[in-house]
Symmetry: C4
Subunit: 257 residues, 4 copies
């Protein structure tokens, strides 16, 4: 984390907009309501240099209603307000709320792929420079092994007894697929869906020369995965600068120095 | 963004100064009034290491009155107050307000060139180290291609139907002219004006060993362009460190590693 | 320090939870009470990129009661609340307070080793990338000499008259042992205890491809040691990038450039 | 600037301590009073990674009384309170106020040299890593030329008419002497005084493998010089990494790439 964000989303303001049609969908005093949380997280991401210049995006599925909240496209992410949110019915895909003067996010079909194919609870898309650099250095996959932070990432397996996600172990190799970018963000959908099928355990996809998509069963998990993966992409980039392959065996580093 | 800024411009203080001659020009409760917004943005830029050591500057044209607001020269940018602002009549070029004990910004003729030749709504000038490093690495132009963030930058073309700006596409090459610095900032005007003519689609000019000027039709657009270009200059510098030309074709990166 | 944290732990909230069994142990208006201080420090560490993605941990021994406070495992460190703390009796090792829905930190046996073998007052564990990079570059020890910041680190010797800790001098070499990581954090205990015995003057142990453990006689000292060591690991990494061994003699740097 | 600081010095608290002997010297509601300003600046410096681990120091001469305010040694710089300040009579060198439980700064004789030999109004000492890296790369002097930010640094010459300081021009070369470190900070005094004599125009001295001392006729000027010099040391270090000598002629950069 390069920085902090000091201004919590203005919840009072959120409540004040109630009154317009369907504004009840985005008016809540609860800081964890998706309409509020998207604002808080986008501000945080902005100060990490992940969504500057209107880049990136985020979507959260309301755990209660199942409605899908999506930040609009082409707006300054650190200045988002709850009233700026699009809200979609997750079954029909129809917009329940469309803010005037904004376009739906070009990421919407990509978010929907993660919701449908992975039963995601939230999807984070950043223009992280660590993702861009890794996509220039590596070919079809980022592979990094034997770093403690890997243990924050799910393996895709579930505990037979509890049904809970089992995370990767220290000795595992984290594999993140890298797909090629397209001229229009919505055209990425096919590549993303292919990667989702080919890498059934992946919780993220790097888009070459573009950024990364990270998802999880809840917004908290998606946030943690995104932080851990960004940390690991930064380490992979630094290892490459030293000449060490990020997936090299423990004890083999010195022969590359 | 390396950081945050926590102290919003003190609007109450801004209002308190009203009473002095012409202080009505800089006294507003509206955080988006140019006199307030310049303070907010300069604080933000300071914590990004763009305007430390009194470097850099900014000017905003008031969208209503057309008056041009300019931060003074040689002052600590993170400590600006609305009362510090120069205000100029955009037609006559006469100062409507001149704060005592400050000098007009040495950038003023450069800001005016952007207002006149490009019909700018705001001009941002930073001493960004990414601009300085790119100006040392590259010769007459920074060229960077096939990076998603390029899509935040206008192409110079307009949509025939809507008249709206069309931005660059992912497969385009962003070209930013690099002009040589001069002993005195005001002497840069000629070089800037030449670049404006030679690169009619450019929304920024890098000044070698100095920094960058970025403008846009509104302060919001100028801010977004400046963020996106700074991100791209950082990526270009990192690509150069890896040996990859920033405008190389997709898929050709690996042959440079 | 890459950043700041703006939200002090909400002390009022801390007081409000009193009422549940044993919540008196974590309810205090004193910002320096371990239950409050752990929250404040974790937020600070988070914005330094030391404990993102739920990584890292911290434990403080209450200077009055001797109770040991430990942050839970697998939680977002910047969002910790006093009510999240585990509290342990330092003599019996029995938990005096166990928050529902959290797991005790996997670091607990490592923290206990520092308390017992070194009479620590606090132990800080981060996933600092400077520690990870140093553990890739160096073999069994990080050795860095002749840097002023070394003087913030204790030498292990005590002043014969006052009994106070004597810190390293500028001409000394700071030696930090590097131990290998294990699949499970608790299995690190053996390696840590060996390092504590072999390096009786060390106030920190780097864990390869993982992070660092730093302790001190008080939480303030542990915090200062952790900051100074992180600074020195960053310098060591930068020196390595220039080709200069971090423990080279003064005046010998240029022959490596 | 890597970061921000959000907590202004608590002026109310400052006023509350009045009552103890000589506490009137450090009790003021004015945020620009040296006792308050030292706290504000140290917090800012801390979040720039300049004074972590209790490193660095600062001293301000009260423009009215001439008393010299000095932050204590070995304390966490981001947590300083006005009551922590030492106050010295600038003529006699006698302490007018000595906080219990603190040691006077080891930098004191160095600060005094700048006050006496240069008529300084304030002296800033940081452990900036950019200073440390430059001191490893360069020998007796840091020389950097033809960078706009140089224009924030005084040339040592004065305008014949106005008596005001004349700053360096863009085509000038900034020269900062580098002196060797000593075991004890107070023993640096001789080396600093020699450098002050040998470089009568210098406004800063780098201490090898240690940090930098920067002074100016006022605390505002010292702060600006320190920011501009840190920026320039960072640029010099980055230029060295590209193979470009920081004082090379304009247009000669490309032959080093």
């Amino acid at each position: 984390m390069a920085s902090c964000f000091c201004d919590k989303v203005n919840i009072k303001e959120a409540a004040d907009v109630a009154g317009s049609p369907n504004d009840a969908l985005i008016s809540s005093q609860d800081p964890r309501h998706p309409a509020n949380l998207i604002c808080t997280l986008c501000k945080m991401f902005y100060y990490n240099n992940w969504v500057t210049g209107t880049g990136g995006g985020i979507s959260i599925k309301h755990p209660g209603t199942g409605h899908i909240y999506i930040a609009p496209s082409g707006v300054q992410k650190e200045q988002l307000k709850p009233a700026d949110m699009f809200v979609m019915d997750s079954t029909s895909g129809a917009y329940l709320r469309t803010p005037q003067s904004y376009k739906p996010s070009a990421c919407t079909p990509l978010f929907m792929s993660c919701y449908k194919q992975r039963n995601a609870g939230a999807v984070i898309h950043t223009h992280s420079q660590h993702a861009v650099m890794c996509s220039l250095i590596f070919d079809k996959e980022l592979r990094i092994a034997n770093i403690e932070q890997i243990k924050a990432i799910p393996s895709g397996k579930k505990d037979a007894e509890t049904g809970k996600d089992i995370n990767l172990s220290f000795f595992d190799t984290l594999v993140i697929p890298i797909i090629d970018n397209t001229a229009h963000e919505e055209d990425l959908t096919e590549g993303l869906q292919e990667a989702l099928q080919k890498y059934p355990n992946a919780t993220a996809v790097i888009v070459r020369r573009h950024g990364i998509y990270v998802w999880g069963p809840s917004v908290d998990k998606a946030k943690v995965y995104n932080e851990a993966i960004d940390y690991l992409m930064e380490v992979a980039w630094k290892m490459h600068q030293l000449g060490i392959p990020p997936d090299c065996g423990i004890g083999e580093e010195k022969k590359y120095l």
